[in-house]
């Protein structure tokens, strides 16, 4: 048994943590969060230079990592700093989809992703889907030698500043069939693409994207037409792990800030941490966060394994994170009292991120049901 990370991973985590602490302070982070772009191109290139993007992809795909624990280590650091750059959208979700299913020509995009150049994002969720991976109403039909794309995608991460979309579309089957889903690489500036950007509760930006008779050539298909579901599931699985690790980093920060507050804040002439009612709640949080950490380790270890144990471990982790992340957010605000309600306090932003992570790639209920179904 050995639960230590390798030397390389520790070094990467250390340098990422140092960079975030020195260059990505709370003020900077909030300025980036509220900016028109919702992330910083400069920071994104700096992260690329640090190797943080490359660590998320395998060597064959132009990276130098790509294992479950690589993803976990990087995202735990990103979570500690509430980092907004498109790691999840571009490097994990879109990157993995291209790495798994892309042709050699399409895989050229990966190099640009790793260098912090092209931003690619996955446009999959739809207005009436509720985290269901196979529910795709957007359609693509053949017309001569090309494809014609019609439909709408909701809450697309970085959607108003991405250069490329990976779009899921139905080319066969009923609206919730796993078979018949195809993935397309669509330039954001293609005729018929409309993007409406909006800020999010937890900082940064997303967009609603519509495709109105968008014509794509045959090379736009990612992998084999009609067989996109497996690719989608694998990519989203890595995204789930990334989000869980990010939540873990955010929980650790929220817990540390709250502990510090309980030690220093005085009321009724004593530190409030001396009240047993509050001590026991902090102990509960500690136990829950350790459980969450174990769920992330389980998911990271299962990432390259067979489908059922892999997906069960991922759903187990996301279910745990959904429950514990929200608990940590709510308890940390409550234990801070009024000051925990303020924009000024970094903690409230950690709390918002933790709760919103439950709204990405399936919430606790979704993954609980999925875990049961995979039984």
């Amino acid at each position: 048994m050995n639960f230590e990370h390798t030397e390389e991973r520790r070094m990467l985590a250390d340098s990422l943590d140092r960079f975030i602490a020195a260059e990505y302070g709370f003020e900077t982070r909030n300025r980036i969060a509220a900016s028109a772009q919702g992330y910083s191109s400069t920071m994104w290139r700096r992260f690329a230079e640090l190797g943080a993007i490359g660590a998320l992809l395998r060597e064959d795909d132009g990276g130098f990592g790509g294992g479950g624990h690589d993803i976990a280590v990087v995202f735990e650091s990103l979570g500690r700093g509430l980092v907004l750059e498109p790691f999840l959208a571009s490097a994990v979700l879109a990157g993995e989809a291209i790495a798994l299913a892309g042709s050699n020509a399409q895989k050229e995009i990966l190099r640009s992703i790793v260098e912090g150049g092209t931003i690619v994002t996955l446009a999959h969720d739809e207005p009436d889907s509720h985290y269901e991976l196979a529910r795709v109403r957007t359609t693509a039909r053949t017309d001569g030698g090309s494809w014609v794309l019609e439909g709408a995608k909701s809450v697309v991460a970085h959607g108003d500043h991405a250069q490329l979309f990976i779009v899921s579309a139905r080319t066969a089957g009923a609206v919730d069939d796993e078979h018949g889903i195809s993935l397309f690489i669509v330039p954001a500036d293609a005729a018929g693409v409309t993007v409406q950007g909006t800020p999010t509760m937890d900082g940064g930006r997303v967009a609603y994207v519509t495709f109105d008779g968008v014509r794509l050539d045959a090379q736009a298909v990612l992998g084999e037409a009609g067989h996109g579901y497996d690719t989608l599931e694998r990519a989203v699985g890595r995204g789930v792990l990334a989000l869980c690790a990010e939540a873990l980093g955010a929980m650790e920060e929220a817990r540390a800030a709250t502990l510090e507050y309980l030690r220093t804040r005085r009321q009724f002439d004593v530190p409030i941490g001396s009240f047993q009612a509050l001590q026991h709640r902090m102990v509960d949080l500690l136990l829950e966060i350790e459980q969450a950490r174990s769920s992330v380790i389980n998911a990271a270890a299962a990432l390259e394994g067979d489908r059922v144990p892999r997906e069960r471990a991922l759903s187990a982790a996301k279910m745990t994170i959904g429950r514990v992340g929200t608990l940590v957010a709510e308890e940390c605000i409550q234990l801070h009292g009024g000051i925990g309600m303020t924009w000024e306090l970094p903690l409230s932003h950690y709390a918002k991120r933790l709760v919103m992570i439950d709204h990405q790639l399936g919430d606790g209920d979704h993954h609980l049901q999925r875990y049961i179904a995979l039984g």
């Binding site: 269901e132 909006t198 509760m201 409230s348 709760v355 439950d358 919430d363």
Partner: protein, 402 residues
């Protein structure tokens, strides 16, 4: 035992309902239902409508311009208002200061201030909390030093208040101030009415985590307050403070607000789908929804039991702490479920969609623009008015005798 309202109470409920149907402006009800922020003018408009009907001051005796309602009537009125999506009355003058002046004020103070509360001449805010004090109200440090000059007797006030809700609209603030620094904690505090337009008063906004603005810090630097603005006896302000708190905690269960929020949640759950079926039929979601509905029904009866126990008027004692704890838990759970029902659509946040009358073109399900913001904003329910931890201490001490 009869769980139904008696015929007179039912008549009263019908009267309230028809009043709301006739006089509550649809525009205001729509804003409340949509979770939009109310402007100052919106709150003033509803205040004026209630005043015109004579229904503004539910807790005041008729002699002072109040309704003279029983606790049950107050419950019915507040419940019906919430169900109709009426704005909440700004409580600081009507529900908090009014009862204190009626009990502790001089005749002159009552004659001057009470009509001004009713007709909206003054907008009151509350100067209780201070930085570092929080729920430990007796830790007040703002000082008021009595003196005499050519213009008469007065206090000079120095210090800082915080979490002053809607203080940006107020022209008057009622404050707890320390008038004797030598005395023990709860002695040496006085209850003072301060004109916020006085030189030396400064209001600074506090932005909350949801991006909203409803609370403030208020600073006092050598603010001159006429001695006539002291309510009750000097150094006996704690009596006023405690009495006011019992009124602050009236209707703290917020049954009507929870019922209204639950109805909205049910509408959302019927519209949103999971796996192609309404969320309301999804086993996990339906179970959570049913559980909170049962909790709410139970609390409604608990609330009525408490009200029945204080029949004849007045405000409940430590029982209100139980209502506050459970009431806030239930409302927070309903708001959490509403957020969860939005799925991915809970994340987008357009602040402008919550302000003003304009219907912004928001993509996504109905109410999605407000679901997460309301959830985050209402984390405050278990913190303000004495945090739920403080309420548990009260219950432990006053009811259990621990």
């Amino acid at each position: 035992m009869d769980l139904n309202f008696n015929p007179a109470e039912q008549d009263f409920r019908d009267e309230v309902r028809s009043f709301l149907a006739e006089r509550l402006p649809a525009r205001l009800a729509h804003k409340v239902a949509q979770g939009r922020h109310l402007a100052k003018a919106d709150m003033e408009q509803w205040h004026a409508i209630l005043h015109a009907r004579g229904w503004l001051a539910g807790h005041w005796p008729v002699a002072f311009g109040g309704t003279g309602w029983t606790a049950v009537q107050n419950f019915i009125f507040e419940n019906e208002c919430a169900l109709a999506n009426a704005p909440r009355i700004v409580p600081f003058g009507v529900n908090m200061l009014g009862p204190v002046l009626i009990r502790y004020g001089t005749d002159a103070q009552r004659r001057y201030w009470l009509p001004r509360i009713l007709d909206g001449s003054d907008w009151w805010c509350q100067g209780y909390s201070e930085p570092g004090a929080g729920s430990d109200l007796a830790a007040v440090r703002t000082t008021a030093v009595r003196g005499v000059d050519g213009d008469g007797e007065h206090y000079i006030v120095n210090g800082q208040k915080t979490w002053t809700t809607l203080g940006q609209y107020a022209n008057m603030i009622f404050c707890l101030v320390r008038t004797d620094r030598e005395a023990k904690k709860q002695q040496g505090i006085s209850f003072l009415l301060v004109d916020m337009t006085s030189p030396g008063v400064e209001v600074r906004p506090i932005i909350t985590l949801d991006g909203g603005y409803e609370v403030n810090e208020v600073f006092f630097t050598d603010v001159r307050v006429p001695a006539a603005n002291l309510v009750g006896e000097e150094n006996r302000g704690w009596d006023c403070a405690k009495y006011l708190l019992t009124y602050e905690r009236t209707n703290i269960a917020g049954v009507g607000l929870s019922v209204a929020a639950l109805e909205r949640l049910k509408r959302v759950a019927a519209q949103r789908t999971r796996n192609g079926r309404p969320l309301a039929e999804d086993s996990l979601f339906a179970a959570r929804l049913a559980r909170v509905e049962i909790d709410l029904e139970n609390m409604k009866t608990t609330n009525l039991r408490v009200i029945a126990a204080v029949a004849g008027g007045g405000a409940p004692g430590p029982e209100s702490s139980m209502l506050k704890i459970r009431g806030t838990q239930i409302r927070q759970e309903i708001l959490a479920l509403t957020r969860r029902a939005m799925g991915i659509h809970a994340r987008p946040f357009v602040a402008a969609a919550l302000d003003g009358d304009e219907e912004m073109a928001c993509v996504g399900p109905d109410f999605a623009h407000a679901a997460a913001a309301q959830y985050f904003n209402n984390r405050k329910l278990s913190i303000f008015g004495g945090s739920n931890e403080i309420q548990k201490n009260i219950v432990a001490k006053a009811i259990l005798g621990l």
